[in-house]
């Protein structure tokens, strides 16, 4: 208890609170700009943290990341430009709500569920970090292979419409993931001699192109549905009732996110997709998903921020970064003389708990800051489409440029814009393609390394307890819907 008080004293200082506030402001701005990611924001913060004490430095990073991940939902919901692959999971639902004239509902839901999910993640971090870390280090390439398969199986659940077209979309995404230098053998694949393509297709420009560009085209040809009266209702009324009704989703999402997020390298992306798929699977009205339904937003939104917090588990306990943000954090920890490892909990527990408290604070600040950004963004909806759309396009261009600091990203966006447009015209869902791009590399790399380790023995995939558990989960993900469909058909017949 005294440790907690000591930690509180470290956090409740004007300097720390001030830093957190400023970092939150930067984070929410960066996240709300299409194409700018939390990782970029954190990388930019690093030189500044050199001159800070450990607690404010880490607190600033935590606050910036939490804010940026949530704020990524703002362009996703309002403009259909998802900020991260994680928020691409529920972008259709959010955008459908905007088109139905209720953007404040979508944003309010994702704001509060992000806050709760993040808090669940932090609480797990405080209570069970060493335990969770032990669980996470059991994952070898074999388990990651199954995890990627599980993630891809979600595509089958989430895609609406024709199953064959969903498969087509996944296959396209997987093929895109093959572009570039094969990391195992060093073989350039489908690069057509281009050095830029050797680096592969970065998924942020691809995602911006696929989702945002078709929207830009529809708006500029004035064929989009008539813009709804540019009003945004109050955010909070009604939110409580909805969330209470969806409390199971919020909790389950937060937990799913926190567990998957603790696995190094898997992170928020897989967490959000799995959570969305679980929500749909468990829903009484799965047919409403993708049409502006709240369950997916709430569950995946909570998972998103839960994963962000628990990514710190392997980072703090073993110095193995959970995602690209914590990879940067490790550098800062060392610079501040805070060597990661279980020792950190024994040697400087007050510092660790101060970091956790700062994290908690950042998650709680999501509500006021989120409210402000939602209010500010309502002004956007008042701008006439003719003026608004070209500016959105310009944002897409800069965002795609900034990911790798090259105009090649802009061309990537353009090419994927064409693909996205073609897909939509033909009723091919976009989300599975994004999932394929994100998971294709993980899947192949872990399959090939597993085979290298076992020297070609396929049984290696069933040789470890966690692997078997995951294999069973995959088998269930595929068989349960088939069995259910058969049973439904039988009852329909009788």
């Amino acid at each position: 208890m005294s440790v907690l008080l000591e930690a509180l004293a470290l956090v409740l200082q004007p300097g720390v609170i001030g830093t957190v506030l400023v970092a939150s402001l930067i984070g929410i701005t960066i996240g709300a700009i299409p194409g700018l990611t939390a990782v970029m924001g954190v990388a930019l913060l690093i030189p500044i943290t050199f001159f800070m004490d450990p607690v404010p430095a880490i607190a600033a990073i935590a606050a910036l990341a939490a804010m940026a991940i949530f704020a990524g939902d703002v362009p996703g919901t309002l403009l259909r430009i998802p900020g991260t692959p994680a928020s691409a999971a529920y972008v259709e639902d959010g955008y459908a709500m905007t088109r139905a004239g209720r953007p404040e509902r979508a944003l309010g839901l994702s704001m509060v569920s992000a806050c709760i999910g993040g808090t669940i993640g932090v609480l797990l971090l405080m209570l069970a970090a060493p335990l969770l870390a032990r669980f996470a280090t059991n994952f070898s390439s074999v388990e990651y292979f199954w995890l990627a398969i599980l993630g891809l199986s979600c595509a089958a659940v989430i895609s609406s419409g024709s199953a064959l077209k969903g498969i087509l979309s996944v296959l396209f995404g997987l093929w895109v993931a093959m572009i570039g230098i094969d990391t195992v053998a060093g073989q350039p694949r489908y690069t057509f001699g281009s050095v830029e393509l050797m680096g592969g297709v970065s998924f942020i420009p691809a995602m911006i192109g696929m989702f945002a560009l078709p929207e830009v085209l529809r708006n500029i040809t004035a064929q989009a549905q008539e813009r709804h009266p540019p009003v945004m209702g109050p955010i909070f009324p009604g939110l409580g009732t909805t969330l209470w009704r969806r409390r199971a989703n919020v909790l389950r999402g937060g937990l799913t996110g926190s567990l998957i997020g603790a696995l190094p390298g898997a992170g928020a992306d897989i967490a959000a997709w799995v959570a969305y798929a679980v929500a749909k699977r468990r829903s009484k009205t799965p047919e409403k998903f993708g049409q502006g339904h709240d369950e997916g937003i709430v569950e995946a939104g909570a998972a998103n921020n839960g994963a962000l917090s628990s990514a710190w588990v392997p980072t703090l306990v073993f110095g193995i970064p959970g995602d690209s943000i914590t990879a940067i954090v490790i550098g800062v920890l060392y610079l501040k003389g805070l060597e990661p490892g279980p020792i950190i909990f024994i040697r400087t527990p007050e510092l660790v708990y101060a970091i956790f408290l700062a994290f908690l604070l950042a998650n709680l600040l999501l509500i006021p800051f989120g409210w402000a950004i939602i209010k500010a963004s309502r002004q956007l909806l008042r701008v006439p489409s003719a003026y608004f759309t070209p500016v959105v396009l310009a944002c897409c261009i800069v965002g795609s440029f900034a990911i790798n600091n090259t105009a090649f990203g802009v061309l990537t966006m353009l090419a994927f814009g064409l693909v996205g447009w073609f897909f939509e015209e033909n009723g091919i869902p976009l989300a599975p393609a994004i999932l394929g791009i994100v998971l294709g590399g993980v899947l192949e790399f872990n399959f090939v390394t597993s085979m290298l380790i076992s020297q070609g023995d396929v049984m290696v995939f069933f040789s470890r307890p966690v692997a078997i558990l995951l294999a069973v989960a995959v088998a269930l993900a595929w068989t349960v819907p088939i069995v259910r469909a058969l049973r439904a058909r039988r009852t329909a017949r009788s």
Binding site: L171, W175, L217, P390, L418, L452
Partner: protein
């Protein structure tokens, strides 16, 4: 451009063949059974199977429907968006970020039906804002050109 399922299936089969053909030149690493070609071939085969399945289905509707979006004036607007992005990529290294982006925004606003004066103001204003955020605050090395040189 909407294709019917049979045509879509045909394209998927061709794409699958192309993906597999693309793996033919890949070198093999000694001692590695599952090399660079394994996964792409798997994907190619799956594409072909999906294509066959699509073709086997009863397809209704015309082979190819050109949507309203790509005909007449609307079609011109669509082309102008793609052209604008391409031109941005080609011209920005010479003119610099601010000038190119201002032009892109202003011209597209006019295309979309906005008034020229307001369009120019929006273009210049937004280009400056984006430059401030990305180049100055976030230190992204945006294309450097005439106006940037004057500002530095």
């Amino acid at each position: 451009m909407k294709l019917n399922d049979r045509l879509l299936g045909g394209i998927a089969i061709l794409a699958g063949i192309a993906v597999i053909a693309g793996t033919l030149g890949f070198r093999e690493i000694p001692g590695q059974q599952f090399g660079s070609a394994f996964f792409p071939r798997l994907i190619g085969a799956a594409l072909i199977l999906t294509g066959v399945a699509l073709m086997a289905r009863r397809a209704d509707g015309a082979w190819l429907t050109v949507s309203r979006l790509s005909r007449g004036r609307a079609g011109l607007k669509v082309v102008s968006v793609f052209a604008a992005v391409l031109v941005w990529v080609l011209v920005s290294p010479v003119l610099g970020f601010i000038a190119t982006t201002a032009l892109l925004i202003a011209l597209l606003i006019v295309v979309a039906g906005g008034r020229p004066v307001a369009a120019s103001l929006t273009g210049v204003g937004m280009a400056l804002v984006l430059h401030l955020v990305f180049a100055v605050l976030l230190r992204v090395p945006l294309p450097f050109g005439v106006i940037e040189r004057m500002m530095s």
